[in-house]
Amino acid sequence: MIVIKIGGSLQDVDPLLSDIARYPEPMVLVHGANRELNELSSRLGHPPRMVTSERGEVSRFTDSLSMDHFLMAYAGKTNKRMVERLRSQGVNAVGLTAMDGGIAVGRRKPDLRVSEGGKLKVLHGDHSGSIERIEPRLLTLLLEHGYLPVLTPPAISHEGVAINVDGDRLAMEVSAALSAGRLLIFADTPGFLRDPDDPASLVERIRGDEIDALFASARGRARVKLLAARQALQRGIGAVGLVDGRRERPLTDALEGAGTWISA
């Protein structure tokens, strides 16, 4: 069983979806829709509010109206266009958010400490949080009956409120809960680059104990992906691939070793 994360940064997902349609093994897809959400919320006059934590981590402040837009972009357009595309190629896809069937439950963190305009501030009413528990029953049920689950944030809090969670972490948590052999994270880059601006600086193999060294010099999305990969290994997932979703047969190439593979 493998879990595939399709990054929100990937513009054209069709080659990857077609390659997935040819893959016979059971699988769970997880996707984001960052760009879709940014575009939609701006056009609806409630532009995205990105904030920076005291430790410099950037995240999206998601108030209730932004969560409406989040559901439209992630669970509406992106999730269902993927299901449509997969079904047109004979895949028995079922689109879900991590709320449906209580797949991912976590703690909502309504108060957010941010540094803005040189000041330390507290924002209230954030609909973000972190995943604490995966309930795999629905996913296992669907997999056993030949369906391909296509999963997207949001998750849901203990009180039953939709919460924005990181797509890579959701994919990692689901991989661990289903004891997937491999987690593949497809994005619009060849893999983990020692120097983000130099595609030739691709690191092809990373052993578990080498991650910390690379972690220090990684920035932004690459950093979150390394974090997710390290936790995946700690949770018993055999290997994590940071792979290029823009190739003609992205999945086939990845399974033949292309991109960055991280294993214990």
């Binding site: 005291e54 400490r113 501030k121 507290v122 209230h124 973000s128 972190s130 924005n164 797509g167």
Partner: protein, 59 residues
């Protein structure tokens, strides 16, 4: 609407100095007891204990 120059720390009741550009939601530190305080209101100024820093972040 000019903001008062000081307010009372809810933890140790010491006087806390306020800057003129005080904003709602801003975090201040009480110079006496060191508690982190949040500006709950600016008119009139109300301070309360600021929520702790989260150890981990969602997207």
């Amino acid at each position: 609407m000019s903001i008062a120059m000081t307010a009372t720390c809810p933890e140790c009741e010491a006087r806390v100095k306020l800057t003129p550009d005080l904003e709602k939601g801003e975090i201040l530190q009480c110079t006496d007891c060191g508690a982190e305080l949040e500006v709950a209101e600016t008119n009139p100024v109300e301070l309360r204990l600021a929520p702790e820093e989260e150890e981990d972040w969602g997207e």
